[in-house]
C-alpha cells in the first residue's frame, strides 16, 4: 500500500476535513425524487397490492466538486437514492437535473443515458462482490475505457497502469486477480475503475463500511485527494457519522424514504433540530466522555422502523419520536428552512430536549396546534420544497420568515 510514499510523507500529508464552497454551482439537482417498488400478490394473476415507498419525495443539491453526505439507518432509502442517480433503477417520479445542460436523469432513455454514464460513476459498498472474480485487474479497470473508447486500444494498458498508480496500487499488478488483494486494495481497484471515465459526479455507496477501521482512513484520504485533484462531486452514502462529518461539508439525514434534516456540517452536528438526527448523533460513542466519566444525555429510540409499504400518516417518524403530538399524526411536516443552510422537517424543531411547546408549523399549514383545520389561519405561501437553499428562511425565535 505504501510503496510510493514513506511513512513520514504520509504523516506529513494533512487530510483536513473538506470545506464547503457555498458559491459552487450545483452539478446535480434532485427534486422530489420518488421510487416505489411494486409489491405483487402471489398466484397466477399477480396483481399489484401495494408499493414499497423506498424513496418518497427527496430533494437536494450536490455542488460542483463538493460532497453531500447521506446518512440514515438501514432501509431508509439512501442506497436506493444512489442507485437512482446512477440509473440502476428508473425512478417512479421526480427529476434529477445533471450537468451544464440540465439533462434530466430521471426521464432520459437508456440510450441517451450511455454518454452520461461517463459523467456519473459509482463506488460500491462491498469490495468483495463489486469486482468480477474471473477478470484480472487490468480487465476490470480497462472495461470502462474499452466500452466508452476513452483511449485507443493500444494505450489501454498504460492508462490502466496510470490509474492503478493514482489510487496507490502497484501498476505491475494489472494481471492479477481480485482474490489476490486485500479488502482495502480491492476498494482501490473499484475506485480506479470509477475514476477511469473521469466522472463529474461520484456516488459512493458506503465505500468504507466493509473495510477495517485502519484502512477506512486510507481510503477516505485517497478519495479526498482524488476529489481535489479531479474536481469530482461526491454523493457520500454512509452510516458512519464521524466519517461523513470529515468528508462532507453538507449532510442530509434520511428516515423512511424522506429527508428529515439537511444542512451544512455545523447545523447538523452542533445544531441538529430534528429529534431523529439528535438520536442518531447521541448514539455515536464519544471517547472524551468515556475517559472523563462524564455522562451524556442519550436518546434511545424504541421500536422498529415502520414498514415502508404502509408508512405512518403525517410525520413518518412519529411512531418512535419522543416529542410527537397529535398534529404529527395528521400533517406531514414540511421541509422548512430554518437557517442559512439548514432545513428540517419537524413540527417541533428545537435544540436537544428543548422542543417548542406548540407546533411552529401549524400557522404555516393553516391548522391549529392539534392539527385540526383552523378557519382563522392563512396557510403560508412561503412553504416551498425546492432543492437548494433560499435567501429567506423561517426564524425559529421570531417565528416569521426573514433574513438573519
Amino acid at each position: 500500500m505504501s510503496e510510493h510514499t514513506s511513512f513520514e510523507e504520509q504523516v506529513a500529508q494533512t487530510h483536513a476535513a473538506n470545506v464547503l464552497d457555498p458559491d459552487a454551482p450545483a452539478v446535480l439537482t434532485v427534486d422530489n425524487l420518488r421510487m416505489y417498488f411494486p409489491v405483487k400478490s402471489g398466484g397466477v394473476v399477480r396483481r399489484r397490492i401495494g408499493d414499497v415507498q423506498a424513496v418518497d419525495g427527496v430533494s437536494f443539491e450536490v455542488p460542483r466538486g463538493g460532497s453531500v453526505g447521506l446518512v440514515g439507518e438501514s432501509g431508509c432509502g439512501k442506497s436506493t437514492t444512489g442507485r437512482l442517480i446512477t440509473r440502476l433503477y428508473k425512478p417512479t417520479g421526480g427529476s434529477m437535473k445533471f450537468g451544464e445542460h440540465d439533462q434530466d436523469l430521471a426521464t432520459i432513455s437508456d440510450k441517451e443515458m450511455k454518454p452520461l454514464r461517463r459523467e456519473v460513476q459509482m463506488i460500491f459498498q462491498d469490495p468483495y462482490s463489486s469486482l468480477n472474480p474471473r477478470h484480472t485487474v487490468g480487465t476490470i479497470v480497462g472495461t470502462p475505457l474499452r466500452v466508452h473508447d476513452v483511449v485507443p486500444k493500444k494505450q489501454t494498458l498504460s492508462r490502466v497502469q496510470e490509474l492503478l498508480e493514482v489510487v496507490g496500487l502497484n501498476p505491475e499488478h494489472y494481471n492479477r486477480y481480485p482474490n489476490e488483494f486485500s479488502g482495502g486494495q480491492r476498494q482501490r481497484i473499484g475506485i480506479a475503475r470509477a475514476l477511469a471515465l473521469q466522472p463529474k459526479l461520484m456516488v459512493a455507496d458506503e465505500p468504507v463500511s466493509a473495510l477495517d477501521v485502519s484502512i477506512q482512513a486510507q481510503v477516505i484520504n485517497l478519495m479526498q485527494d482524488l476529489q481535489r485533484e479531479f474536481d469530482i462531486a461526491f454523493l457520500f452514502i454512509a452510516h458512519d457519522l464521524a466519517i461523513v462529518r470529515h468528508f462532507c461539508p453538507e449532510v442530509a439525514v434520511m428516515y423512511l424514504g424522506k429527508i428529515v434534516e439537511i444542512g451544512d456540517r455545523e447545523s447538523i452536528y452542533s445544531g441538529a433540530h430534528h429529534p431523529y438526527t439528535q438520536a442518531l448523533l447521541s448514539a455515536v460513542p464519544d471517547i472524551k466522555q468515556a475517559t472523563t466519566g462524564e455522562r451524556r444525555e442519550r436518546i434511545r429510540l424504541t421500536g422498529d422502523v415502520p414498514s415502508p409499504i404502509n408508512p405512518p400518516s403525517g410525520c413518518r417518524f412519529r411512531t418512535r419520536c419522543p416529542i410527537a403530538q397529535e398534529i404529527c399524526a395528521k400533517h406531514e411536516p414540511p421541509l422548512l428552512q430554518i437557517g442559512k443552510r439548514h432545513k428540517v422537517a419537524c413540527h417541533f424543531p428545537g435544540r436537544i430536549n428543548q422542543p417548542p411547546s406548540s407546533p411552529i408549523t401549524a400557522g404555516l399549514l393553516g391548522v391549529d396546534a392539534q392539527g385540526s383545520p383552523d378557519p382563522g389561519a392563512s396557510p403560508s405561501s412561503d412553504l416551498t420544497d425546492q432543492p437548494g437553499y433560499a435567501d429567506t428562511w423561517f426564524d425559529l425565535d421570531s417565528k416569521s420568515f426573514g433574513r438573519a
Binding site: 454514464r117 468480477n132 494481471n175 486477480y177
Partner: protein
C-alpha cells in the same frame, strides 16, 4: 483432492514453474485464474488422471478406427469389395467358421465374428465407438450452446421473457423422452430416407437432434438459477453503471463465472448421451445403418448363451466409457468447486 487446498492456492507443485528469473520480473506476478487453479488440482487427482487416460485411449481408438481396420484387414460391413462375404466366414448354422465360440482364438479376428452377417467384431466395436462419441459430442455441444444461451437470457431478462422461457423449460422437462424419441425418429428419418448414405447421415443427425431437444433444459435451468443470484452481485451493477452493453454483461461478465457449472454439466452429460445413444439404438429407434454399440448389444442378446464374447465386448466397452466419463466428471466438479470434499 489428495493434497490440501492451501498448498494449491499459494503455488502448487507440478504447475508450470518458470526458470528462476529476476524476482521483480512482471511475469512472476502473473495471477493464477480460478480455472488454472482447478486444472492444477485436477492434475493431482489420481482418479481423474486414470479416467482421462482411459478416455484418451478410447478416443484415439475411435479416431484411428479406419487405420486400425485397414492394418488388421478387417471390415465393419460387406460393402467394401475386399471384405469377405458372409458365406466365407459363417458355417451352416450362421455361426462363425473361425475363432470363438466353436474354434480357438485367432489373431485374424481377436474379438470374433458376428453371427448372421459375418462381420468382424473388433471393426464393429471401433466404428461403434466412433458413432457413440460423435453423437455424444455433437449432442453435448449443441445442447450446451442452447441451454447456456436460454439460461442466461431467462435469468437476466426477468419478467415476461423469463416466464415464457421457464414455461418452455418446464414443458420439455415434463415431456416423456422415450415417447418423443419413438414418435419423432421415424418421422425425421423417413423424410430424408433416400439412398443409404443420406439415410445414415439423416439418422445420425436426427438422433443428435432428439438428444438435444430433450437434453438442454437441465443446463438452462441450472444457468438461470446461477444468473438469478449473480445478477444481484455488485460487479454486474458496476458494469451497468459503466454502460457495458447487455450482451457483453451476459457473455463477458456473467459467463466466465459460470464456467464451473457448465464444465460439470458437460462432463456429466457426455456419458448420459453415450448411454442414451446405445439405449435408443438397442430399442431400434436410434441408428439402423451405421454401426452402433447399442445395436450390437441388441443383436447379441439372442446369443448370450452360445456366444457370450459377442455380447460382453460392447457391454463392457460402454460400461468402461461411461464409468470413466462419470469419474472424470466428478473429479472436474470437485476441482472447480472447492466446497465439495470427498
Amino acid at each position: 483432492m489428495s493434497s490440501g487446498l492451501s498448498v494449491d492456492a499459494v503455488d502448487g507443485p507440478g504447475g508450470e514453474e518458470k526458470p528462476p528469473e529476476d524476482p521483480e520480473a512482471p511475469q512472476q506476478l502473473a495471477g493464477r485464474s480460478p480455472t488454472r487453479i482447478a486444472l492444477g488440482r485436477l492434475a493431482r487427482d489420481k482418479v481423474a488422471v486414470v479416467g482421462t487416460v482411459v478416455l484418451l485411449i478410447l478416443v484415439v481408438l475411435a479416431i484411428m478406427a479406419p487405420l486400425i481396420c485397414d492394418w488388421w484387414n478387417i471390415y465393419p460391413d460387406q460393402k467394401d469389395p475386399n471384405a469377405p462375404t458372409p458365406s466365407q466366414m459363417l458355417d451352416g448354422n450362421q455361426l462363425p467358421s473361425f475363432g470363438p465360440p466353436q474354434y480357438p482364438f485367432t489373431w485374424d479376428h481377436p474379438l470374433g465374428i458376428e453371427p448372421q452377417s459375418g462381420r468382424d467384431n473388433l471393426a464393429l466395436l471401433l466404428y461403434g465407438l466412433r458413432t457413440s462419441l460423435t453423437v455424444a459430442l455433437l449432442a453435448t455441444v449443441f445442447s450446451t450452446v442452447v441451454g447456456v444461451t436460454l439460461g442466461l437470457l431467462a435469468g437476466y431478462a426477468k419478467g415476461a421473457v423469463d416466464a415464457v422461457l421457464s414455461f418452455v423449460i418446464d414443458f420439455f422437462l415434463s415431456f416423456p423422452f422415450i415417447l418423443g424419441a419413438l414418435a419423432l425418429a421415424p418421422i425425421i428419418t423417413s423424410r430424408f430416407g433416400g439412398d443409404q448414405d443420406t439415410l445414415r447421415r439423416a439418422e445420425l443427425l436426427s438422433l443428435v437432434g432428439i438428444l438435444v431437444l430433450f437434453g438442454w433444459m437441465g443446463l438452462a435451468r441450472l444457468i438461470r438459477g446461477q444468473v438469478l443470484s449473480l445478477r444481484e452481485r455488485e460487479f454486474v451493477q458496476a458494469a451497468q453503471v459503466i454502460g457495458v452493453p447487455t450482451w457483453q454483461i451476459l457473455f463477458k461478465e456473467l459467463l466466465p463465472n459460470l464456467v464451473a457449472p457448465i464444465v460439470v454439466a458437460i462432463s456429466l452429460s457426455i456419458p448420459a448421451y453415450v448411454a442414451a445413444e446405445a439405449g435408443l439404438s438397442f430399442l431400434g429407434i436410434g441408428l439402423t445403418e451405421s454401426p452402433s454399440l447399442g445395436k450390437t448389444v441388441n443383436s447379441a442378446v439372442n446369443y448370450f448363451e452360445r456366444y457370450p464374447l459377442y455380447l460382453w465386448t460392447p457391454v463392457v466397452t460402454i460400461m468402461i466409457m461411461v464409468i470413466a466419463l462419470n469419474l472424470v466428471g466428478d473429479s472436474i466438479r470437485d476441482a472447480f468447486d472447492p466446497k465439495t470434499r470427498r
